[in-house]
Symmetry: none
Subunit: 195 residues, 4 copies
DNA sequence: AATGAATGAGGTTTCATTCAT
DNA sequence: TATGAATGAAACCTCATTCAT
């Protein structure tokens, strides 16, 4: 603890704020207040506000990776893994939804090279993690799905979840029900198998 | 000449800037410089910077609506319309891509109610326009596709295009080729017909 | 009319505004809007905003002079004239009160030499007018009141009215009733006679 | 040293400026320059310029309260207290006069509710303080003066001092001499006793 | 290591005044 | 004479960052 504890405190304070503010509107003074430390202390743990933000993105990336693959197992067959994955994507309400929103809003800082690359890593990693797990499932399959199709499966599920989720944020439109997501996964799976 | 000319000038200057900056980093002084006017002149045409931004979003919404449905015609059959639509989505590099990026970055301002509602309108409208055109194509179909499936078709194509496009921005990954998009549309169409 | 009509329009518009704004918060654009003319037109009739303000003060000075001496007549005896005068002072609610407030607020511009001198003239003139009328009443008096006492009589009535009026503005405290004012005048008159 | 020192510095700098400028013409940059601090520092001690102004008014109120009752004692008899009080009012040249002028000019901001209420408090308080001291003097009186008359005594002295002082500012007219003030007080006192 | 007062650059916005029509 | 679009100086205020303690 000790030192690292404080670093964590700052990081969590920033995340709390970022749930309802964007990077630019988040002030170092509010971070300090929420973390219960002095404003200057932030600069002992982070070079500047932008670096702190990048660390936040890294943290979220890690956490989202965990959330997405929760319940997905290499032993299970592809279809059930896809179902779990689909629901995890859909489950972006609750913790995941909050973190995903932060990530989404972070896109507005993409003109900054370091933030862009942080976001790039997050996306690449996420796809890799998911793909590697799904690949393990392929062995258990009766019907073969070419490995190179996995990526497009992921993108389809991700993409539609993404759009529906975003619309629910901006226009209050209802999001998908778990049943609808099941249905979608089923369709995509069928599609990929037959193609 | 005249009044509207200057308003347009300001709007276009803002859009130019927003291509490589976000809302908060765009300064009124740079807008003025690019538009070739005095800073105070902005405030004769827009109440404040935020309102100017909302007008930018409205403009983009209108323009994107045109871009999306370019070449789509009510007389054509559903599949070819979907193909054109898919390519339009995919064609987000060039003008469309730039505008779409601005829209994407604008999401970070979603905590502001007026901007949120502007974004909400854009999304709702876009879906409506596309859906209404596709509905006209349904009559020309040999095989019937239930009208209520159209929305999910749109979301699938939009969603996957969205994800692939975003990844190409943040991680330099290649985006879809027109051929791949064609293929995707084919798949989605087949899927929707058979389900 | 024609030209002078417009000048009057501007002056009256300014006065309307000054009832609920001070000089600095009054904008030329609001003056123009209220007067139903273009902003630039103001500058055909007045050198600048400050000069317009000075003209407003002159107008108010003239009008207040009329209001104060309303009903006061050289033929009446001193006591009844004082009573009428006292009520006129007190009657600063209604038109007089509004104009007096503008004058009061104008004091904040006293650091400007021209405005200071305009205010100086107003005060000097007011006292002179009132004094000259009261002097005419002195002939009708049974008991003599030395002319040089008139000024202090005026100041006493004016002063107390002023204080009570100002308090009613800032603290909502009730102002004097006409009866109380009558009483005050009676007292002051008695005092001056006996001294 | 320390924190309060700087707050005081800012307050005093503002007061210095307000001696020859009004609220609106006083700029934060001049305050900072005079106080020898950075402009931003002002905002560590005051929410905004208007709040700083209100604090100035509060300070002046307190100081004027002290000046007014200087030399007035509950043990002394009413007449001599009135004399001292009268001279204190009259003594508004020097420190008191400067502060009173600021208060007077502040009236132009009376349309702002917070400033209006600050001014209201100042007036109410001032009257209360003076009244309570004079009430203590009443016990020492040979001739009784009804307590409820005290307020009108105060207003008469205040009022006439006020008018004379204001005229001396705007028209360079001489103000009252201490002897004249003594005389006035004598008159008022006689008047109140006999009525 | 921790503090938090101080900084000052830079942002948005207002508005009296000008001048081409 | 009248217009009103355009100006641009200058105001207030914010906030990431520094540094003496």
């Amino acid at each position: 603890m000790g030192t690292d504890n404080k670093r964590e405190l700052i990081l969590q304070a920033a995340i709390e704020i970022l749930h309802h503010q964007n990077y630019q509107n988040m002030t170092t003074s509010e971070i300090a207040r929420r973390a219960g430390i002095a404003e200057g202390t932030i600069y002992r743990y982070f070079q500047n506000k932008r670096d702190l933000f990048i660390e936040v993105l890294r943290f979220i990336s890690k956490r989202m990776g965990e959330i997405f693959v929760e319940g997905v197992s290499p032993e299970a067959d592809l279809k059930s893994n896809l179902r779990v994955l689909g629901k995890n994507f859909y489950m972006r309400h609750k913790e995941g939804s909050g973190l995903y929103k932060i990530l989404y809003k972070a896109f507005s800082e993409v003109e900054d090279d370091d933030i862009k690359s942080a976001l790039g890593n997050i996306y690449t990693q996420s796809v890799e993690i998911i793909k590697s797990i799904l690949k393990s499932s392929l062995g258990n399959e009766k019907v073969s799905v070419p490995e190179e199709r996995l990526e497009i499966i992921i993108f389809m599920i991700w993409g539609i979840g993404d759009i529906v989720w975003k619309r629910s944020i901006v226009s209050g439109e209802k999001t998908m029900s778990p049943a609808e997501m099941d249905n979608l996964v089923e369709m995509v799976y069928t599609l990929m198998k037959s193609s």
